[in-house]
């Protein structure tokens, strides 16, 4: 028809500035969502205490203490209930709770009467000491091995690595932890049995001692992470390998290297990047079992001890911190994906 410009087939190209604004808006939306999520989690952790079966006060001070006080000292029990404000209506309690979180006042630990936040920060350091190397080493090893195996699904390397990693994924971390503890610490006496340091050491000796202590937990965690990342990468690469565009790229005579880096990797990396970002959320809370076995004084062990000792303020703060970490990690993965995946961009802009 005369006078009507022909529309190009498919999605019309957008001007770049507009696309940038759209992406920024998308990211802003994600940030707001994350803040909302954190708020909801805080609320849930409040409600969880108050709507669980059983009396709240029993959760707070422990069942035995409750009955002990009920029989011997009802006035003291009444005082404790008033102290926690359990006689107030629920919404007042909720507001008080929100206020205490906003002012970073998380109460005092029942175990050692230190402020909870102080205990937690002390433990964070130790957990990060083993979880950050785990993330990096496991991520790199897993990706490299996964690409090699996924490039030739059913090939020799795949045939050897996949059963091994399947097997490694099937051994629960507490089992392998105990086995390694028995072999390397009790039998061979290479590594210390538990704890973080032997104490009374300085300088190079201290570092060496610390390394020896962290060796076993670190080896175990890196091993697990490598094999699970390997599986993620492998399945992602072999999936892309089957796509038509990979066949086309190979059929038009591109060398393997170019097909791998330009076509396969670009697509296969997306799920892997998402997974890596997600794993960052577990930096503080992902090593509970290993920490418990090796007596590593990190967040995991703190949380475990808080739960078993009914040290409620500590358990709650640990829970909140790990939840916030995961929310931030999710936000990170959303942002990264929005920046690099053109398909998501189109969906956002459409």
């Amino acid at each position: 028809m005369p006078g009507v410009a022909r529309q190009p087939f498919g999605i019309p190209p957008m001007d770049k500035k507009n696309a940038k604004i759209q992406t920024a808006r998308h990211i802003l939306k994600k940030v707001l969502t994350s803040i909302l999520t954190i708020y909801v989690i805080i609320t849930i952790s409040f409600l969880m205490v108050h709507f669980m079966p059983g009396d709240v006060i029993k959760h707070l001070i422990g069942t035995e203490d409750y009955y002990f006080l009920l029989e011997n000292n009802p006035e003291e029990l009444e005082r404790v209930i008033t102290k926690y404000g359990l006689n107030d209506p629920l919404h007042i309690q909720y507001l008080k709770y929100l206020k205490s979180i906003a002012t970073m006042d998380f109460g005092v630990s029942y175990n050692n009467n230190q402020p909870v936040i102080y205990n937690v920060l002390k433990c964070c350091k130790w957990t990060l000491l083993i979880s950050v190397p785990t993330l990096i080493l496991g991520g790199v090893f897993g990706a490299v091995l996964g690409i090699i195996a996924g490039w030739h699904p059913g090939g020799k390397f795949d045939m050897i690595m996949t059963p091994i990693s399947l097997f490694m994924n099937t051994v629960p971390s507490n089992c392998i932890g105990i086995l390694m503890l028995v072999v390397f610490s009790y039998k061979l006496r290479i590594f210390p049995i538990s704890g973080v340091t032997s104490g009374m050491l300085t300088g190079a000796e201290y570092v060496k001692d610390l390394m020896l202590h962290m060796a076993l937990p670190l080896i175990i965690m890196v091993m697990f992470r490598t094999f699970s990342d390997f599986m993620t990468m492998k399945s992602s690469v072999s999936q892309v390998r089957r796509e038509d565009y990979t066949t086309t790229a190979a059929a038009k005579g591109l060398p393997d290297r170019k097909v791998l880096f330009k076509h396969v990797m670009r697509n296969a990396m997306l799920p892997y990047i998402t997974s890596m970002c997600m794993q960052m959320g577990g930096l503080l809370s992902g090593s509970m079992i290993v920490e418990t076995i090796f007596g590593w004084k990190g967040m995991g062990q703190l949380y475990y001890q808080a739960v078993t000792n009914r040290d409620f303020p500590t358990a709650q703060l640990c829970f909140l911190i790990s939840a916030v970490c995961v929310v931030l990690a999710t936000l990170l993965s959303d942002i990264v994906i929005a920046l690099i995946d053109p398909r998501i961009k189109e969906k956002v802009n459409a």
Binding site: T37, M48, P53, F167, N169, P172, T274, M288, Y303, C318
Partner: protein, 268 residues
């Protein structure tokens, strides 16, 4: 499509392992030589003909404990995984297909549930709920459906870009038909592999929780046996007949599900 009748060895091995454990789980009353709850004065006994795997610190027969533990561990693992996979798949299908407000609701629910650290929440829940199998199953499945949902959704979103779905939408095919006849079979292998991962994941979570002393203690699961072996000096004393069998059983059972799920999807 041609049907290949090729025997798939890993799947057969996996099925045999699962089968054996299921038989043990069903007939554990007949198989166990002793009642695992009965205590005796023969504590810390070495394995002999009367007690195949010796006795623990309370004089309970470890072999019988192990056999009864099969039932508890399998029950919790399988049920939690089935719930998690069903919920995850349904949410992913609804979310990817309808998009818009449904997608937004489900995605925010998923990211909310994902933002809660799994093992931490499960630990807290098990601690608050009345201890028992049911609360373990609830606590495990409440946190484990999210991975399935998210992965399936992202896969489905790429699938929705495919022409055949667009064509079907254009010719007005019913939503349910597209979802369950055309979308779901396309991600069947991922669902299966995720299902297998869920069983293994649930069994591992159960093992971890029980190992930490938060599991089922009326009827001991494999993890609970390991808990006692570790925290009552079985490991330090080197009583390998106490701590090795639960480790082997847990690993074998999880391996069985992994083999079936993982290699089953490749056999089309």
């Amino acid at each position: 499509m041609r049907k290949k009748k090729k025997k798939n060895l890993p799947v057969i091995v996996g099925s045999v392992i699962i089968g054996i454990f299921i038989v043990i789980a069903i007939f554990c009353e007949q198989l166990a030589p002793y009642d695992p709850a009965i205590t005796s004065i023969n504590v810390y006994q070495r394995p002999d003909s009367a007690h195949l795997l010796g006795t623990n610190d309370l004089g309970q027969d470890i072999f019988s404990e192990l056999i009864y533990g099969t039932r508890v561990s399998m029950l919790i693992g399988v049920f939690a995984a089935v719930i998690a996979t069903l919920v995850g798949t349904t949410f992913a299908l609804l979310s990817a297909y309808y998009g818009g407000i449904v997608d937004r609701l489900i995605t925010s629910l998923t990211s909310l549930a994902m933002a809660v650290p799994g093992l931490a929440l499960t630990t807290l829940l098990v601690c608050y709920l009345n201890p028992g199998k049911l609360s373990l199953i609830v606590a495990i499945s409440i946190t484990s459906w999210t991975g399935t949902a998210r992965i399936l959704r992202s896969r489905l979103l790429t699938l929705m870009e495919e022409p055949f779905i667009k064509i079907e939408k254009a010719i007005g095919q019913k939503d349910s038909v597209i979802m369950f006849k055309h979308l779901a079979p396309n991600i069947k292998d991922i669902i299966l592999s995720r299902g297998a991962m869920s069983v293994s994941g649930a069994m591992m979570t159960e093992a971890s929780l029980s190992f930490l002393g938060l599991g089922e203690f009326g009827e001991k699961s494999w993890g609970s046996i390991l808990h006692y072996a570790f925290f009552r000096n079985g490991v330090i004393r080197g009583l390998y007949w106490w701590y090795l069998p639960p480790i082997i059983c847990t690993s074998l059972a999880v391996l069985g599900f992994m083999l079936v799920g993982y290699y089953g999807q490749q056999n089309k």
